[in-house]
Symmetry: D2
Subunit: 358 residues, 4 copies
């Protein structure tokens, strides 16, 4: 059996990362007598040889905390490593060498980017176990839910609860833009849980006519406000999202707002009702994980360590219901898991009268 | 197709009941053009002829609210109806007559008690659809989770978060008693999510020796406090729970505290460490449902109305993953769903070093 | 004594408005036997003759709810009333007539705008009592705190707590823009409570050099992230805030982001550290009032009704500690209450090492 | 000027203790260049010579955390120190010696017990500064509010919000017992903020007749539930609280429940309405301090360190509004600050119809 396992977290942070790390360490130490070391800031820390020993004391008290004690980064692919301004080299051999110096196996906690690197390293002989991480819930690892998602849409729901009162008092349209560039899971869940009137997803191109019909239906019921949840990747039918290039006085082109702002402005223009937009942005990532996410993350951590201890390398951990179902690393990066537009959840939304823009 | 459907809520309240009612009404009105009436306070309201029309306006704004706008009660079984002090009669015919006067079918939202009554009424020819409700997550309706459970254990987890700081500052053992008379789902989930050191379930008889061994292990790591979560139905090995009959000055026998208090006192006696107990009680029932529960409850409401509209009577709604899986009413009351003591969740708890008392 | 009192809420909504309305109604009915009517949507409702009777049943359950059940608007000054596109008239006589038709006195719950109208109406003989409302805590009504402020900065603090984890994990500068166009109370309080490293207020012009010095100090302590709170009215020293006029493709000029975005971009440019901005916007207004605000709002409501019942018109209610201190309406609109830059709170911030940009 | 200051926390923990410690350390290091050491577990740590150096790194990240990183205890008075089972000695000289060995002055963060010891040590020549701590808000240090109180009653208010739904759904009387043995500040504030129907305080002896009259008034308004908040020290008129001695089977006499349980049982007996009790207990102490308390605690910490640095010993820090008002240590233990039963807050409660039991 392996004597030492290394762990790193890569990509955007998600609530629950610390719970995974804690579960890995506790399982390693208590169940298998294996030592755990952590690389700092994802693969960057491997390349720069920055490691730390992870004992039980190190992971004590981190269960409820957001972020990752190991740090993370979106960059520094060892297969395409920046060695000078504009100059990149394949440093994967050095990467593998460094990891092997410290440990017999590597657990990569990350999204499709980091897991792809993990797969490529595994192809070159490294012992790799993957633990999927995506706050957007859009990683195609079986049907498994991923930690961080419950926390993200719970916060978006809380935001809707808050905006409800102010929208109603001022008789406004309030547009809430949430994460979801390619998949609308957060928008759909938050919209359902927060009582949204309109939900716009990347999977369902929308028309303003349909949204306005819903707003008018509400007006006819004497409801003079509406709540619209829009995923950042939502698009009007027949058109690419208008990426508005704007020119500042200083002549630097910059991107203006997002789809939320575009929708709010268009609705105000067409209906004459005051409209406001709120963009949640990074608030969705932070915060203490919900109890649901803490448990899910703990289970993933235990399961990943189990795989590593059994020598079952080249797999990504995936939990479907009560059962551990490892998925080959090779299969992970095959596209993302979108909202099933014919699924039961979307149908339920329609049945209770939520407008999906189509 | 039916023209009118009646709804009632029975048994203890659970966060999400209002979300179910709202989803039933919206689906009925919008999808099927069916009218909905509600009986107040469960079957009691049927017997007393207390009804209310449930329009969309009536259910507006209730999604995030705890409790049930229809009211509920644990009593008044029409098959065993109290007509005078100590005198009971079968008034089920009157019950069915009243329901039929107002509606073509009845949706019962309730636990095993109310669903059993629903089954018995169905046997006598009433069109009944059941919607399962159990905050303890212990109803044996397929593998489905039930709404209210996520909210309940989330609050218990928050309580553990709060108690953690005070336990650590004072170097105490803190015992948290949570709901769960026959099944320990809440205790297990809250304990995992809240970082408990010991979790005691009805399914696993405990010994004080095992608990104290865990506390001593922590002392040896210089951790001078411990958090113990105990389900109200947990029992020491080999003995019935000590139901302490106590005598007050006024000579009325009353029940003293619960298992939480018993455990706290015994641990203090044996270890010499100050121990305190907190009993969550009704705090677990109240409160706004979590976003997770709001969605689950909404889906149940839509599914129950779908069944009624399709004329698929005699079934209880059950959602397993994305799929609607009606379960015959007859099967529901067949015992409760206990924690699987060999399941993945219990194993994960053990692997990260949580003491389960055995 | 008066027989009937009218109430309206004007200007932006603030958490606690419903608690004020509830306290006015309960005090009127129970203490003085006075009837209360409410005008909808501020002075607009007066002009359009939209009233509602406010009984105890009407205000039942509204204590914890954000917004205002009466609705509000920022517009429609009866002294400058829009009668047609671009045409305004003084309709104050009609306004007073309408109010007198329904009630013997008017309680205006509003900010400097609505209270100024109240003052002008009082000059023309109407019985007016004012109840101050400003979520920014910047109304110059004695030293009194106003309801809504505690809720607003509490939410901003929660946002900082959330952003802390993600800033630390990614080694970023995170800029949080909060309300406060002319006074920085929210920024100062949230910054202190949320452990900000830098707080930028309208009252203290800042230089980037000072901010960067603080960031560098943190780097030297191996703290690779920083949290910056900036009030929307903060300005760099010696320069007006750069109001960036931008041109969209559609040739409509629009305003780009706010000071938060300007600061984040400038800090990233100068330090090379990834910087992100979050704008809280309307999230600060919504939500259930904190317990502190519920009590404060209740006290204001009781005190306003007391003044009206005693016939003490022309005053704005103001509570300083335990004592009711009515302030003449005339004094209210005399400028706003800014952060005391030599006060104890600012000094405390400096002593614990918070950079205020100067 | 002093070179080194020692800090300790004594008595029950209160949310905000860590914020005080953090502010002391930061102010000492940054403003005055003074070193800070901490004694562990109050005066016990002094007697046992357990100290720790408190650098800025040590206090990093503790602002939002409940409890105290220094630990605390309610025992071990150096003037009455237990040297053997049942044997006590005055070890105050040793205590002073130990403190002087490490520091030039001592900051005691504690309630009346710890501050009294501080006063006695000051009489013997030690340089002492006091920082008041009482979650009950009942310490007679000027009119100052103390940190922890806002968090405590905020949690009690949240509990009322939760219980509201379940009380209403089941048509029950729910009794919530909160802290407050001698003063009812928490009960009064939570009751006002949580919309209680009845509030029972130690300062106002109650009669069941008055409570029942209120419940009946509500029934006549068709409100079939009531919320009662009771401070643990509340008492019926003319009688000591019934301290129910109970006899367990094991013949150990123990105390049964508290006033909350007594009131609930009595109300159920007299009204026939189902009544339930919830005791908040230690949940009120734990948890992250509210933003309000974090600021207050920070100000106290800065002010205490200012006093110490200026050599102004023998005083307890007290902040009244914006102004620092040191109070002589001698004056602190002169009784507690009770609820002013003729004050504006109690009057406001009565005016909106809350029953205070008299």
């Amino acid at each position: 059996m392996i004597q030492r396992v290394a762990v790193l977290t890569g990509g955007g942070d998600a609530p629950g990362l610390n719970a995974v790390i804690r579960a890995i360490v506790k399982t390693a130490v208590r169940e298998y007598g294996i030592e755990v070391i952590g690389f700092r800031d994802g693969f960057k820390g491997v390349m720069e040889n920055r490691v730390t020993l992870l004992t039980e004391a190190e992971v004590s008290g981190i269960l409820p905390r957001g972020g990752t004690i190991l740090g993370t980064t979106n960059r520094d692919n060892p297969f395409h490593y920046q060695v000078a301004e504009g100059k990149f080299e394949d440093r994967s051999d050095q990467c593998i060498e460094t990891i092997k110096e410290y440990a017999d196996a590597l657990i990569v906690i990350g999204g499709d980017g980091s897991l792809s690197i993990g797969y490529d390293l595994a192809q070159k002989g490294l012992h790799v176990v993957g633990c999927p991480k995506t706050i957007d819930n859009d990683l195609a690892v079986g049907q498994a839910k991923t930690f961080g998602f419950d926390t993200a849409y719970a916060f978006a729901t809380e935001a809707l609860d808050r905006l409800h009162a102010t929208a109603e008092s001022h008789h406004r349209i309030i547009v809430l833009e949430v994460m979801g560039r390619y998949a609308g899971h957060i928008a759909l869940h938050a919209g359902l849980a927060g009582g949204a009137d309109v939900i716009l997803l990347p999977e369902i191109p929308f028309t303003y006519e349909k949204i306005i019909a819903k707003i008018n239906e509400r007006l006819s019921q004497n409801k003079r406000f509406s709540l619209v949840v829009v995923a950042e990747g939502a698009k009007p039918l027949g058109g690419e999202m208008v990426v508005q290039k704007v020119i500042t006085q200083s002549t630097d082109p910059i991107r203006l707002g997002g789809i939320g702002e575009v929708v709010a402005r268009e609705l105000e223009r067409r209906t004459g009702i005051e409209s406001r937009v709120t963009v949640l942005g990074h608030l969705q990532r932070g915060g203490s994980p919900t109890p649901y996410d803490r448990i899910l993350a703990t289970r993933y951590g235990v399961a990943a360590m189990d795989l590593a201890a059994r020598g079952q390398f080249g797999y990504v951990v995936s939990l479907d219901g009560e059962h551990l179902k490892p998925v080959p690393l090779a299969e992970v990066a095959k596209g993302i898991r979108k909202v099933d537009v014919e699924g039961e959840l979307v149908k339920a939304a329609r049945k209770i009268g939520i407008c999906l823009g189509d």
